[in-house]
């Protein structure tokens, strides 16, 4: 028979479990600033024109371990259809970071385990001095894709340590740099190699992404005003990838998008959108014609990108970048983390139906 004491204890335990458990759920979030248990860099490139430096930092006071996966989004020809599609090939490695340790590597070079490497700023020899987090392979020339890191314990079991933050710096052949924050997904109660973004194991993907930008093809307001080299123009690009990924079976995930674009006159200029399989970097106007100046008619546009259809639950993540160019071809680029709105537990936005996105890690 249940005693009075046990009733009270049970109630108290339930109370605390309810309070703290649910608080944990509510705190979980996709973020570009808060540390998380999954860290995603949507745009990682090593081409003849561009290279990328990845910075990852452990904000925890304990040593942390993560499994990381390069996902190659470069197009290859599908042998079955003869059509180009992303290979979605993954290559993975592990990193260990001591308490509060930052680390970095240039993706074209990787990082060897070499306790004797020293500090060098000599041209062609980027420094890798510091505790090596583990052997990090380089990616080949032509790599255009993403990097996904998941925090795990010593036995490679995913954990909700929420210890990782990071930045990616992309430098082009002209020496121009752009930088964005890695996207973190906070862990709650991971249960295995399938990382469910369901607000139970990890936070859900955003219900939509949005961005405000200088319209593609529009004259740049500052270059027009301050430079003698006019007319100028702005070009925008967006890198998109589904939240879900099958890194075990290399099955590319696909998500269909609805893109709504608004100009400064409050006119909705376009409504449509592409499907993204695995990874894509596109001119912004390619996902929504309203982002084109000739169509929008105003210097600034605002757009929302919302997963739709039966694969909407795969979710979408991304990063944008823009290039302002004067009439002589001098240009400057900048990267922009996209804004996010809601996720599957948000009440004031349409709830994404269907199974939640899953990042399936390969068996270690």
């Amino acid at each position: 028979m249940r005693t009075t004491k046990s009733l009270i204890v049970g109630a108290a335990v339930t109370a605390f479990a309810l309070a703290f458990g649910t608080t944990g759920v509510a705190r979980a979030d996709v973020s570009t600033e808060r540390p998380g248990s999954i860290l995603i860099f949507p745009k990682v490139v090593n081409t003849t024109d561009e290279d990328t430096i990845i910075q990852i930092t452990n904000v925890n006071n304990d040593t942390r371990h993560a499994r990381c996966f390069f996902v190659d989004g470069a197009l290859t020809f599908d042998p079955n259809t003869g059509l180009p599609r992303p290979s979605c090939q993954e290559s993975d490695f592990s990193i260990w970071l001591t308490r509060l340790q930052p680390t970095h590597w240039q993706v074209s070079v990787g990082r060897r385990i070499d306790p004797t490497d020293n500090f060098s700023s000599a041209p062609g020899y980027p420094s890798t001095a510091g505790f090596d987090p583990g052997g990090i392979p380089p990616v080949g020339v032509g790599f255009t894709g993403a990097l996904i890191c998941a925090e795990v314990d010593a036995s490679d079991k995913p954990i909700a340590g929420n210890s990782l933050t990071g930045q990616a710096t992309v430098k082009n052949i002209n020496g121009d740099v752009s930088k964005y924050n890695g996207i973190t997904i906070q862990g709650i109660t991971p249960m295995g190699q399938d990382l469910s973004l369901d607000n139970v194991e990890y936070n859900g993907c955003p219900a939509s992404l949005n961005l405000t930008t200088i319209t593609s093809g529009a004259p740049d307001p500052v270059v027009e005003a301050l430079s003698p080299n006019t007319p100028s123009t702005v070009r925008n690009f967006i890198t998109l990838m589904p939240c879900g990924a099958d890194l075990e079976n290399l099955v590319p995930q696909t998500v269909s998008l609805q893109v709504a674009v608004f100009n400064e006159f409050e006119q909705r200029i376009s409504l449509g959108g592409p499907s993204v399989e695995c990874w894509a970097r596109l001119p912004l106007e390619a996902i929504g014609g309203g982002f084109d100046f000739a169509t929008a008619g105003t210097t600034f546009t605002y757009g929302t990108i919302t997963p739709q259809g039966p694969n909407a639950a795969n979710g979408i993540l991304g990063v944008a970048d823009s290039v302002a160019t004067d009439s002589l071809g001098n240009s400057g680029s900048a990267a922009d983390n996209l804004h996010v709105a809601g996720n599957t537990d948000t009440t004031n936005l349409p709830v994404v139906t269907g199974s939640p996105a899953v990042i399936r890690l390969s068996v270690p």
């Binding site: 004491k5 009270i8 109630a11 339930t14 605390f16 309070a19 649910t22 608080t23 979030d29 570009t32 600033e33 808060r34 540390p35 910075q55 509060l100 340790q101 930052p102 680390t103 970095h104 500090f119 700023s121 062609g124 980027p126 420094s127 890798t128 001095a129 510091g130 505790f131 933050t165 990071g166 930045q167 020496g175 121009d176 740099v177 924050n181 405000t212 930008t213 307001p221 500052v222 270059v223 430079s227 400064e264 006159f265 909705r268 210097t299 600034f300 605002y302 929302t304 823009s322 160019t325 004067d326 001098n330 400057g332 680029s333 990267a335 922009d336 983390n337 996209l338 804004h339 709105a341």
Partner: protein, 413 residues
């Protein structure tokens, strides 16, 4: 003596208490400070205008601000404040006395004339309304500002395009803060989170274009949007239990500021890509607590709480260093100047120098102290400038939130 029924009541009370904690925690936890979220307060930590390059070595500088109303159905309004952090020799506000406290050039820092370069915090405000899903963008250095766009004859809500952008003086260095309000007539802060923002800072010469971009930091309102307006003049970012602000003792209106800013950066003078281009990082810190109630533009930020920012630096060898700096109304300087004299002369001895640290990257954790007292929250932005003339900006990371009772207060007119 407590009866069995009483024990049952105790259990029920515990459950009810848990539910209350749950609701409170959920409500608080949902509101966050973040640069990727629509919010009720937007903070642009750095706005820079110097169209003739008076303080920037002759290189023209300007900023484009972009704001969007993410509400798909309604007109939403903002009350915005330019926080002018320009400095002047001996604080004499006159364009002839303009100076740069971060310079070691005796002309630019007033020492040539035996004076000190002192900031003169001034605030001016403006109002804008945006129709549903409307983007607004403007070049900050444009004088006068253009009217907000509206199609001639448009009757589809365009009348909501009230307000106008108040231009800034040129040069201008400082901050832009915007608070969502109910309308442009009553101007009362509301429990809504409808706005996002982005800023692009340019340096343009006849032979180059450089642009860097960051997202405005959003401070989300906590309460139910239907719960009515917030306090008209006191915006409570978290709770304040020291009694100085009775409104904020009663409860939070907005999310608390982060307890720690985390800046992942290259050390000063590093050549990250190994191509000879070296990098320096400028850190901009703005206080979460700010008295911007006087918008006359005449030394109007008074009684500003000074915050000691404690800096803990960890390099790739897990070696830890520390330093500190003071933040009153605005601070924007290169990392290597945080612990050495302004300018480049002694950068090599800074703890942020790559030569001192011996590794390429570091994590710097910035914390306002005392951490348990209200009014010491900070927000920040990082910018990297390369020796080849290009630059990049990024929002700094956060770790934790200010504890209950150690909130911040923004006072508006």
């Amino acid at each position: 003596m407590r009866t069995r029924k009483g024990y049952r009541s105790l259990g029920t009370l515990a459950l009810l208490g848990a539910a209350a904690v749950l609701l409170a925690a959920t409500g608080v936890a949902r509101a966050q400070v973040g640069s990727d979220l629509a919010a009720g307060i937007l903070v642009f930590p750095k706005i820079a205008v110097d169209t003739v390059g008076r303080l920037t070595g002759g290189i023209p500088v300007d900023t484009v601000v972009e704001i969007a109303n993410t509400d798909p159905t309604e007109i939403r309004s903002l009350h915005c404040f330019w926080v002018n952090a320009n400095s002047y020799c001996n604080g004499d506000v006159d364009i002839a006395n303009l100076c740069d406290p971060n310079s070691d050039n005796p002309v630019l820092n007033c020492r040539e004339t035996g004076r000190r370069c002192l900031p003169a915090w001034r605030v001016t405000d403006f109002f804008v309304a945006a129709t549903a899903n409307q983007p607004i963008g403007f070049r900050v250095g444009q004088v006068p500002q253009s009217a907000l766009p509206c199609l001639p004859g448009n009757t589809n809500g365009c009348a909501g395009n009230d307000g106008s952008i108040n231009p800034v003086e040129d040069p201008f260095i400082g901050e832009l803060k915007c608070v969502e309000v109910n309308d442009l007539t009553n101007v009362v802060p509301v429990n809504r989170n409808d706005f996002t923002g982005t800023a692009r800072i340019y340096r343009v010469t006849p032979g180059s274009v450089d642009v860097r971009q960051y997202n405005a930091i959003g401070i989300q309102s906590i309460a139910d949007p239907n719960a009515g307006p917030n306090d008209a003049t006191t915006l409570c970012l978290g709770t304040d239990t020291n009694g100085a602000s009775p409104v904020c003792s009663a409860g939070a209106e907005y999310a608390s500021c982060p307890s720690t800013l985390v800046v992942n950066h290259f050390f000063e003078g590093a050549a990250p890509f190994g191509d000879g281009a070296t990098v320096n990082t400028t850190l901009t810190l703005v206080p979460c607590t700010e008295r911007i109630e006087d918008t006359t533009g005449v030394n109007s930020v008074t009684g500003q709480q000074v915050t000691n920012a404690q800096l803990a630096i960890v390099n790739e060898f897990e070696q830890r260093f520390s330093s500190a700096t003071r933040v009153d109304c605005y601070k924007s300087m290169r990392l290597s100047d945080l612990d050495t004299r302004p300018g480049t002369t002694d950068d090599g001895s800074s703890i942020f120098s790559v030569g001192v640290e011996g590794s390429l990257t570091g994590q710097t954790r910035v914390r306002g102290v005392p951490g348990q007292s209200p009014y010491h929250g900070l927000l920040g932005l990082a910018e990297e400038s390369y020796s080849n003339g290009f630059s990049a900006a990024f929002n700094v990371n956060y770790d934790g939130v200010r504890p209950a009772g150690a909130g911040d207060v923004i006072t508006v007119p």
